[in-house]
């Protein structure tokens, strides 16, 4: 064989304050002029900040914070909304530009994409990955008017952390691209706190701190068996690899969606079960419709409620086979919501329905031993109805037909 396989070339592209940038492009005279711009929620209402301009972040404003509170921290800020559609269009435009560089582009969220450039060394004249990253950054800006930061490395984890470091507002000397050369992953990771590692949430941090572990450096001296004993086999081994900069999660192109969710933050907390049920119906309908539009079916249905006190609770159920029609998805979601509501019946701020374990509707089907006997989840009637609804929406728009609550 020839020379050894070259190391993987992974990039993470992260749009800087994405919603703020889109809001400014949509409304150059209004939002475009406001330096202290907050996107999301309203001063009177009780939504949350989706994104804050870097200038406003200096006042302590963060995304996810209730807008009213953000305005107490930064009273001069201008609050605007931005349409979901404008953001999705911009996001798709960025993915389109990125796909000119490699077919393997995974949109991780609306403003974060992973690229796998492995095997493209020859295509780019064996230039350094950092040079390619800079060219991608310039091209995205030129073609979409969106400023992005790019992290480069040999895997997802390193690329993501590098992209964070590349953001100009975080590190004064940063210029939008940080590349971690192969072999330097562990040294790079050693400069982070454990809480910076994606997947280490507040609860896990608490457990880590009980063992005196706060930074990656604190944790490195502990061998794998020790970490596995403390945190369990899965989490211990996971942590052992992450703090050494190891991550073998592949970059999946966008055709392989993992989950699809629809949520709603209410203008006012909802405590009425019927009102929540109507919201759930709307969300289930939208999720089911989007699922079918992509030709998918989903096996797992999850309902999440954010209570008045910001506590998130979720319940989910995995069905024996994939489904895609409103009736089945709503019926399941309603049962899950009822369970959550009876466990803690306090007013809700947010409701979400998400569908996961997604596969193509036409993929191979596992046959069941008791298929005839079991109550089929979706009837032929459900499917025909869904097709008819889809046809009406294609012709007259997505609001043309809705179910009554």
């Amino acid at each position: 064989m020839g020379s050894p396989t070259p190391p993987p070339r992974i990039l993470q592209v992260d749009a800087d304050a994405f919603y703020v940038q889109v809001a400014r492009l949509v409304d150059p005279q209004g939002a475009g002029q406001a330096e202290l711009l907050l996107v999301g929620g309203s001063p009177e209402g009780r939504g949350v900040v989706t994104s804050a301009a870097y200038a406003a972040r200096k006042f302590g404003v963060r995304s996810g914070m209730p807008t009213a509170r953000a305005l107490r921290l930064c009273p001069q800020a201008t609050v605007v909304g931005v349409s979901r559609r404008a953001c999705s269009e911009k996001s798709r435009a960025i993915v389109g530009v990125l796909e000119q560089f490699t077919p393997v582009v995974e949109p991780a969220s609306i403003d974060e994409m992973y690229l796998d450039l492995s095997g493209t060394e020859g295509l780019y004249g064996h230039e350094a990955l950092e040079t390619t990253a800079r060219r991608i950054r310039r091209t995205v800006l030129a073609e979409t008017e969106i400023q992005v930061s790019i992290g480069a490395g040999t895997n997802r984890l390193v690329a993501k952390l590098a992209a964070g470091r590349a953001k100009p507002h975080r590190t004064p000397e940063a210029d939008g691209v940080v590349a971690v050369p192969p072999g330097q992953e562990a040294a790079f990771l050693a400069t982070f706190d454990l809480g910076d590692i994606p997947g280490v949430g507040p609860r896990f941090q608490e457990r880590l701190e009980r063992y005196g572990l706060k930074t990656v450096r604190d944790t490195l001296p502990h061998e794998r068996p020790e970490l596995e004993e403390w945190f369990g086999w899965r989490a211990g081994s996971w942590l052992y690899h992450r703090i050494r900069g190891m991550d073998s999660t592949p970059i999946l192109p966008r055709s392989q969606a993992k989950s699809l969710s629809r949520d709603e933050t209410f203008a006012e907390d909802l405590d009425d079960d019927d009102a929540l049920r109507r919201e759930l119906l709307r969300l289930s309908d939208r999720a089911a419709h989007d699922l079918r539009r992509h030709g998918y079916v989903a096996r797992t249905i999850t309902v999440r409620i954010r209570d008045r006190d910001f506590r998130d609770r979720r319940a989910s159920r995995t069905l024996p086979r994939g489904v895609s029609t409103e009736r089945v998805i709503f019926d399941e979601a309603a049962r899950l919501m009822a369970r959550l509501r009876s466990a803690r019946p306090i007013p809700a701020r947010l409701l979400s329905v998400s569908l996961s374990q997604i596969t193509g509707a036409d993929t191979e089907e596992q046959l069941g031993l008791f298929d005839e006997a079991s109550d089929a989840l979706e009837t032929e009637r459900d499917r025909r109805l869904a097709e008819a609804v889809d046809a009406v929406r294609r012709k007259f728009g997505s609001n043309a037909v809705e179910r009554g609550g």
Binding site: S255, T318, P320, T359, T363, L369, F370, A373
Partner: protein, 369 residues
């Protein structure tokens, strides 16, 4: 309550009971174990409300009484103690003092009144089975039960007791395991649907030479040997008619080395879809061709020698289901039978030197191309 016990005995009892203590619970007392000291020894019990395990250990009891203490903490402490006598004493309802050599601990408990009562299962009308037979059934069948909540009845293992045979059946609706063990004239006839978690405890706690006493109440079952008892809730409802789905007309049969088939499945399975684990099997003459093709990932082919009787056949399976079934096959050679690409396949041991009869079913994946 006051008693002295050896570190080894206490540790053994705690390990036996700890598996029934839930790791997460909304009822705090369930994270505790109940310790009851009586003149004849100390009884230690734990429960997650679905199953309960209780065991009696010899100890020198100076004062009778009962208290509950955090199971995990007590087990961790005892694990770290040297091999010596442990003295345990309750001071009041809520505190337990433990001493061993120069180590001293005080644990905060919860009054025993809060600990749930055990299910009312009376062993007065019990019957007994050989633990060896029971373990054989559990080991070969329990794995096939469902872990999904979509059909709760399939989360259990069906245990059929008849005059001269005990049978267990488990299925998740996609694959099924069934085993019969002949027994000498049992008086009891019953159909019980038992959670596999309880069977795991039975398999773990009882030695193969024991006779296990079994007793049943309306919706609970108890298993008992000399000092240890396991209670479990029974799953209610009719178990699906499994007999109806066991194929009787499969006319194509393949005999193959179990390990050769399993390694080939694992090899090509590497590039199978993470969701369906689909492999395609093509039987023809003396050859089995295995192939996998996963969009966006890649392809694999392999070939092994088999003995195959019948018309050539192409059939798809979830590789994991086949591998799981093969793992529990007790012989080096196995026999697979088929009828058609969308009908159930059977897997059986070949030349098993055992009075038991074992059969597994696997439903195929429908191939779309």
């Amino acid at each position: 309550m006051k008693f002295t016990i050896t570190r080894e005995r206490l540790h053994e009892a705690l390990v036996a009971v700890a598996a029934s203590v839930p790791t997460k619970t909304t009822l705090p007392v369930l994270a505790n174990i109940l310790i009851e000291a009586k003149a004849d020894g100390v009884r230690i019990s734990g429960t997650d409300l679905d199953i309960a395990v209780s065991t009696v250990v010899p100890a020198e009891v100076d004062g009778e009484g009962a208290v509950t203490v955090p199971a995990k903490k007590l087990l961790e402490i005892v694990r770290e103690l040297p091999s010596a006598a442990i003295r345990l004493a309750a001071s009041g309802e809520q505190r337990v003092d433990l001493e061993c050599g120069r180590s001293r601990f005080r644990l905060l408990g919860i009054p025993r009144e809060e600990f749930p009562n055990f299910p009312p299962v009376s062993f007065k009308e019990s019957w007994s089975v050989s633990s060896g037979d029971l373990q054989k059934l559990i080991k070969h069948v329990s794995f096939a039960s469902s872990t999904e909540e979509s059909r709760p009845i399939l989360n259990g293992v069906l245990w059929e007791l008849r005059k001269d045979v005990m049978r267990m059946v488990a299925t998740n609706g996609h694959r099924l395991a069934r085993m019969d063990v002949p027994v000498a004239g049992s008086a009891q006839a019953a159909d019980l649907i038992v959670p596999p978690k309880a069977l795991d405890q039975v398999g773990r706690l009882f030695g193969p030479a024991d006779e296990v006493e079994i007793a049943k109440s309306d919706n609970h079952l108890g298993f008992r040997t000399g000092s240890t008892v396991v209670f479990t809730r029974l799953i209610e409802g009719p178990y699906p008619n499994y007999d109806q789905v066991i194929p009787k007309e499969n006319d194509r049969a393949c005999t193959v080395e179990k390990d050769a088939l399993a390694s080939a499945l694992r090899r090509v399975g590497v590039v199978a879809s993470d969701q369906t684990h689909r492999v395609r099997l093509q039987f023809s003459g003396g050859t089995l061709k295995l192939s996998v093709s996963t969009p966006d990932l890649g392809e694999a082919q392999d070939e092994i020698a088999v003995t195959f009787d019948g018309d050539p056949l192409e059939i798809g399976f979830n590789a994991n289901y086949l591998l799981e079934v093969l793992k529990y096959m007790p012989t080096g050679e196995v026999r697979l039978t088929f009828k058609a690409p969308e009908r159930a396949a059977t897997v059986e041991p070949v030349g098993w030197d055992d009075p038991a009869a074992y059969l597994c079913l696997v439903m195929p994946l429908r191939l779309v191309d």
